[in-house]
Symmetry: C2
DNA sequence: CTTGACCCTGCCCCAGGGGCAGGGTTCGAC
DNA sequence: GTCGAACCCTGCCCCTGGGGCAGGGTCAAG
């Protein structure tokens, strides 16, 4: 006849846990001795190890209770399912490890791969970090509104950056223009070149070229102080 | 400017969780629109993904809060530790899978390997399942009282079962005697043979041979109805 | 006869949300 | 113009699996 402490130690659980299992009806309450102490049998130890094993596998105690007096076939089926869940949980933890590793290395975690690749391409081009962040935030905003459109948008922009030298040049100039004064004499010329490039674009020219400023405006709303006098002036020149 | 629902969807968490993070001070409360709705920026999405990643790795929200504005070196160290915990947890789950598998296959889970081996040896000898269970329970009881003694005891009994033919014969007869009537004429003869074997044992003869009935008595206490009239009579004959 | 290690019950606490009540809002369809 | 669906708001109580503490009683050894 063993005490609650010895029982708990045998099974590798806390005394508190044993009492908890009594309360939940998982483990039979044993008899008491003259002092009112619980006195356990070996069978209790066997039952407790069973409970501990299932609970350690993440089975809710309510289900453990059912499983304890299920017939062997049902138990076997349940164990198979629990094992499947376990495999899945292990997989999730492993994916969690990968995500965690990316937390150390920049923004890859926060956006899908294609976007990360696009942002890296911008960086290789020599675009400022401020602009890269604007692009990233713009993508996130787009993406919350319409994931498919966002995916198309990133593909097209990637093609432009990789394949259109004039787009690259304009992009870098727009980036640099951020810091120019509002009355910088280079602004009208830049607006003209931009308009020329836009009219040179074929069919889908009404949607995409507008997108760049549109995104910028979105990002501007979301990030206070993300525009500049020169950009405002440039937008005015393009509209007018 | 995105709503709470879109933000939650982007990060793969529930709306409720986002509000929870606000309450805990993990995620900055954004501005409200004219209807009182929260309106988020892309930066919130980035922050939320970070929170979700740490939380998914099992980091308590209170620690997540600290990590969010820790410097990169501290963060890297913390991530290394979290990753270590993750590896440990994965290991535990894998061990849990093994234990679970044993739940289907008998009692190996409930006792250490040597004991399981000993019980299997008894079964091969032709001992009844009732007796095997008595032995198992006796071991568990012993073990909770004194693990080292229990280990020694199981080793000696294993040696006896493997190496002493007369012990094996006596053991099987004792097992069979369980069901005899109290006045069975074979009982005195069995008691005599048992006494003869006990006196034939060298040095440690006062501890071990007594153990078998002692264990039986322990098990008897723990398992109501685990003795029988014939066993009681046998114990009386051996004492007298 | 004390001291430390047990045991008892009962209560509140934690994370990490879920669910529901009891509202208000927005948007598209009819 | 109005209806319904799908959002959003706050506030409250609920869950699991125990931990911790209070405020006792008990037991064995020195």
């Amino acid at each position: 006849m063993i005490t609650i402490g010895r029982l708990a130690e045998y099974a590798g659980v806390s005394v508190k846990a044993v009492r908890h299992y009594h309360e939940r009806g998982l483990l039979a309450e044993p008899g008491r001795d003259s002092a009112g102490y619980r006195r356990y049998t070996a069978q209790h130890a066997v039952d407790l190890v069973k409970i501990r094993t299932l609970a350690a596998a993440g089975v809710p105690l309510a289900r453990v209770k059912d499983l304890l007096d299920a017939d062997p076939a049902t138990l076997a089926a349940a164990i198979a399912k629990i094992d499947g869940d376990l495999v899945e949980r292990i997989g999730r933890l492993q994916r969690s490890r990968e995500q965690l590793a990316q937390l150390r290395g920049g923004e890859r975690l926060f956006v899908p791969d294609e976007v990360a690749g696009y942002l890296d391409a911008l960086r290789r081009l020599g675009v400022s970090e401020r602009q890269v962040r604007l692009e990233r935030d713009g993508w996130i905003l787009m993406r919350t509104a319409s994931p498919e459109d966002a995916a198309g948008w990133i593909t097209e922009k990637r093609e432009l950056v990789d394949g259109d030298p004039e787009f690259r040049a304009l992009y870098l100039d727009h980036d640099a223009a951020y810091d120019w004064p509002r009355d910088d004499p280079r602004l009208p010329a830049l607006a003209d070149r931009t308009r020329a490039w836009m009219t040179g674009r074929p069919d889908r020219s009404e949607t995409r070229p507008v997108q760049n400023p549109a995104i910028a405006r979105l990002a501007q709303q979301s990030q206070p102080g993300a525009s500049s006098p020169a950009w405002d002036e440039l937008a005015r020149l393009l509209r007018g």
